[in-house]
Symmetry: C2
Subunit: 415 residues, 2 copies
Amino acid sequence: MRLAIDRQRFVDRMQEQAEIGGLDGERGLDRLTLSDADREARDWFRDRMRDAGLDVRVDEMGNMFGRRAGADPEAGTVLLGSHLDSQPRGGIYDGPLGVLAALEFVETLEDEGITTERPVEIVNWTNEEGSRFQPAMMSSGVWAGTLSLAEAYETTDRDGIRFVDELERIGYRGDVPAEPQYDYDSYLELHIEQGPRLEEAGDDVGVVTGIVGFQWGEITFEGQANHSGTTPMDHRRDALVGAADVITQVRRIPGTLGERTVGTTGVIEAEPGSINIVPGEVRFTVGFRDPDDDTVVEAVDRVKREAAAAAEREGLEWSYEQRMAVESVDFAERCIDAVQSAADDRGYASQRLVSGAGHDATHVASVCDAAMVFSVSEGGKSHSPKEYTSWDDCYAAADTLANAALDLAGVAAER
Amino acid sequence: MRLAIDRQRFVDRMQEQAEIGGLDGERGLDRLTLSDADREARDWFRDRMRDAGLDVRVDEMGNMFGRRAGADPEAGTVLLGSHLDSQPRGGIYDGPLGVLAALEFVETLEDEGITTERPVEIVNWTNEEGSRFQPAMMSSGVWAGTLSLAEAYETTDRDGIRFVDELERIGYRGDVPAEPQYDYDSYLELHIEQGPRLEEAGDDVGVVTGIVGFQWGEITFEGQANHSGTTPMDHRRDALVGAADVITQVRRIPGTLGERTVGTTGVIEAEPGSINIVPGEVRFTVGFRDPDDDTVVEAVDRVKREAAAAAEREGLEWSYEQRMAVESVDFAERCIDAVQSAADDRGYASQRLVSGAGHDATHVASVCDAAMVFSVSEGGKSHSPKEYTSWDDCYAAADTLANAALDLAGVAAER
């Protein structure tokens, strides 16, 4: 059977959530994980899950689950979801689209009086973004057993505030252990593509076959802070010049490695940060991603060699500290097929693609079979108030998700 | 006659002031202008001036003057001084050495019962460093009529706090107009070299013949903030890559222009500053200095062309905003000669050199004849807790200053 979700309700819900932590005068979100805005979005989502008749539970990491029983209580659960947190100046679709599409699925089951064979759960994962507390995808990682609960709790933000204290403060440190409470059959996650490929091909939805691997690290250069007017050029050990050399190479390395390789420096801090002083210490991040894990390792090796060469040129000390490394993921064929069949059946033009971004599905795929649905991201923009997906494209992706999920959950009875 | 300053008193005073705003466990200062530490240093200096029998006045910019009458009340005044404020992590010599050497001069006159022909004044100029409020050398600039009092008052620090409000808060907004209250004959300023030339030549003191010109500006690149994993390299407009290109050229341009040219990027800020986002906007400073003003202009022209080229490569918008431009200064021969004669007479090995740093003397030289004395800076280090000048070298420079000042002020009577 085909499931017809309620487009108007779904769009209304997307607009409601976009008001919580919304940017002034811009269509975007400032809803950092465990902020007051995150609490407000969570309260709103909890109420919506209860209204939909779901059995709500919150685990020790603040992950929020809403469970709907199936005809076969012994059957593995089908899990759907994403995250409600945002970057400091993020868009309104990234994350929330997948959470509210999951909600729309169970509400439609309720409307239609459908009992699925398998239990169905929807989830809002805590701290997917990793913007305030590193690493990203923290709480799906703890849930899947990849990250340690104790370490996650002790993580601090830039102001030295601990994750666990903020979780407690906003009232979302739950009692349920942060680990699978049931046997899970499969996981589907809808997310915006955050890249240009669907739009450029004119496709409606993306059938995601896996996720690239990546490695994030921080390079520190130490030179000599000194007066910018009185220190001759041949006496300088300028840490920022070393950083500039490496950042130029971070731009170049991907083009020497692979078609899908990307490399980025997103954060840079130069000390002491005075117009009149040669920078004595500079720290900056480097990150590389590729579907092939060996290529990521090679990119990191190359950037380290570039750092060593830059340090030699400028007389600096240098170090590289790995912040996070995640291997690439290949999704399960049966879940990919469920998404592909749903898209084909609903008449959506689609392409298969590998996600360039990490998602909670990265971790969940180690617990059960998984796949993802991508919606179009206009101009490939995300993590920005310019992020945009038309309601038509949101609907197409949510419709695909719902029908793929119904396929996996099976229909036991309908009204 | 030769004047013999009190070495022990002078060293004690240097150590006393170094306790005010001193860094924890390091031999350095955090005494930003108009901070509580600056107030404390000012109170201490005011008391020392009163103890020395000086007539103390504070002007509208917080500049502190201590005046000692001469035999000829109509004669032009000889002014000596420097500044007590520091960089956020500065050394203990930069600035204070020149202020306390001036104090030591008048105390020695008092000890010796010397009446000079000319009146003598010592001064502590407000906000020489320009680290908290730009521009640097702000209050000697207002005093000399180069900068506007109204604009200086409205200047804000990074927290948006106005200069005038902080001046008021620490109790150093004086009533005396910030302009010359007397006819000034000459100005001498002792300062650490902040460069390696004296030490490398094995000289004791520097006879400063002028000050390089410089221009400070800020370059802004605007690109497109976007997800670092999903945005292919050929779709990026990375503002930080543009900045890295230019910073590399800031390092290179001086070597193509002149032996004394220097170029520096001291401050860089990348937005939004997330490990996971391609930087959409980057602002960074560029500064060039040279004894020849045309060379500074050429350096700035070149860096603008580099910015345009980097913007073209990366698809960025760019702008250059001039923050400060100061022309080079040639000091007066008679003042240079007074310093040279004092150094020679006391048996100090010296060299003539052009200051690579701006000093309050830059502005004062537009009011009266001026020159400077440099002390050795070990390793050329300054604006850092590693800044160091031995007490022998401090003494040699203060001794030279005192005897040059006595030469300019003339002896009318002694006990």
